[in-house]
Symmetry: C2
Subunit: 194 residues, 2 copies
Amino acid sequence: MNLSMTELETYIQSYFGVSPEDLAAIASQFKEKQCKKGDFLLKTGNHCDELSFIQSGLIRIYVNTQEKEVTQWISSKGYFVTDLSAFVFDNPARWNMQALTDMKLYTISKKDYRLLGKDIPKWHELEKLFIARCFAFLEERIFSHLSMSAEERYQLFFEQNKSLFNEVPLQYIASMLGMTPETFSRIRKKSIQS
Amino acid sequence: MNLSMTELETYIQSYFGVSPEDLAAIASQFKEKQCKKGDFLLKTGNHCDELSFIQSGLIRIYVNTQEKEVTQWISSKGYFVTDLSAFVFDNPARWNMQALTDMKLYTISKKDYRLLGKDIPKWHELEKLFIARCFAFLEERIFSHLSMSAEERYQLFFEQNKSLFNEVPLQYIASMLGMTPETFSRIRKKSIQS
DNA sequence: ATTTTTTCTTGATATAGATCAAGAGGACCA
DNA sequence: TGGTCCTCTTGATCTATATCAAGAAAAAAT
């Protein structure tokens, strides 16, 4: 067992609650990978052949439409990142994934990922739970758009992700919350003053 | 094999591409169930112990917040319906599910559903694919809220769900698209005139 | 250090969409 | 057959948020 991978293992363990043997088998398929600020881990339209765990750094998931650039999410240390639906269904990727900082990742190829399904009996169940969590997460977001104002979405996100506000261009956070940078700036000002 | 369940089987088959034996095993665990207009299949805060396939009828998924009622979705013939994250994680349900019409369902209990995982080797993989599709569906919806106006969301939804507009109170569609009934009505008027 | 580029703020204005209020049309009932 | 309720529409107004434009501040580059 590679000691330097403890963090990944800890995460997988806490997330999935797998046995030590399975844990080792899973973690061993992840390879360390680094990338530089500005690098693309994925571009819209390409195959999404990797799933990565973020050891350090920040990555932005976004897409360009005719009119504007839409940031879907910013993912940080301790989270997995991929274009899930492209990864699962082999569709062309919808999202760009670009490093906002230099990064350290643990990465598994789709091929190796799928082989885990053959070696580890519980694998598909773990996968299912992982995807179900992603689903629950999106459901929360949909709800926030159906029921909350821009200001309420700002407050909620701020409470849950304070640190991100010092680490990335705020315009990206504005976009992922579904508002313009100007509106974001005004809400932020009001929020700081009070 | 119960002939009256062909529709469910057809659906499972097309959705999951399972073998005839597995298909029969899966379908046999679903029980026919009827319910009347206005009945609740699930209420917010309760356990979600069932997954249902809609043979006929319409069901509304919604929740009450302090200020207002938020319709998440309206589900119709040929679709599965449950509070997915409550069903998977045994959380208290977020959503109410209420029949908008008399309905015919095929229903499986959570207990039987989970037993399928023991009997059918591919089950967890099928489950995973099902949940991943639900994820992809929500991802589309998030994207529509991040990138589109109320009018654009209306148009898109109308193209994809024309028939629903004759079948349910329009205020519910308005809510699931994230706009008021008044705005919905005005957009609709404009859309019909042109 | 100075320049260049990017990001953020601020003001002025415009617009999409919400809210409030009232009425019209249907459906369901008794 | 006339209510009662529910749903939808319409107008008037209001408000949240977008847009446009410019400058300030911060970060990156040279």
